[in-house]
Assembly symmetry: C2
Homo-oligomer: 141 residues x 2
């Protein structure tokens, strides 16, 4: 089952290689962090604030390409966690078809935030990283 | 008219904000530099060398999205230069249609190099930056 989540925090440290975003379930209190790269964190921050640069940045181009090919991003899903790496999918509708594209969570979320596309997390992932059995790993907010 | 060009050099300075790539016409000696960002230069370098990371980086995802939506990148074109900014287009074929998507040259070239997609430069751009009237601005190799 997929649990609807929200991006509730972006922590950017300009001196660090790794940045952190925090996802929280929409109808609950469980939350967890995902470590991402600086470029992706900056893209998420810019796109969530609606800052439009004179020229399309890479994630803007990704959005343009989906639209130009007749697609619409309907949701992004954090699907799995393996060996400390989160996996995600873009779900893109095109006419009657729906295609699923493998992505990193950071790229998926950078795409999602600009268009208010819903973000979901597979229940087993949320249970693993933010469940009652893993209070230390969970990120309480 | 579009002039076929090749990417002949990537100059990455880890301490600098701006990196440089050099394009040269395939059937001639004219060449010129384009200043791009570090993230994009690293993507071009990685993709031209065929390095595949365990998870898709943003430009890899862009390639996957084009393919998943039934498109094929047929060429990229550096179309214009305005106020020291180069403009480019992705030309994507999908069935009988061809769609053109506005992009920065760095993203366009990062996409092109992984699939041996041809790179073109509009003649008026090449004439302006690498023509005989601008020997100082041209980048002779």
């Amino acid at each position: 089952m997929e649990i609807r989540c929200e991006l509730i925090r972006i922590m950017i440290t300009e001196t660090g290689d790794h940045q952190v975003i925090v996802l929280k379930e929409s109808n609950g209190e469980r939350a967890f962090p995902i470590v991402i790269g600086f470029f992706e964190a900056a893209a998420i921050d810019r796109r969530i604030k609606g800052h439009v640069l004179p020229r399309p940045m890479t994630h803007d181009l990704l959005g343009s390409v989906i639209e130009a090919l007749g697609g619409q991003l309907t949701k992004v899903v954090i699907t799995d966690l393996k060996e400390h790496t989160y996996f995600a999918s873009l779900v893109i509708r095109r006419g009657a078809d729906s295609v699923v594209v493998d992505a990193r969570p950071s790229d998926a979320i950078a795409l999602a935030v600009a268009g208010n596309t819903p973000i979901f997390v597979e229940q087993h992932v949320l249970d693993e990283v933010a469940g009652p059995g893993n209070p230390g790993f969970g990120f309480n907010v």
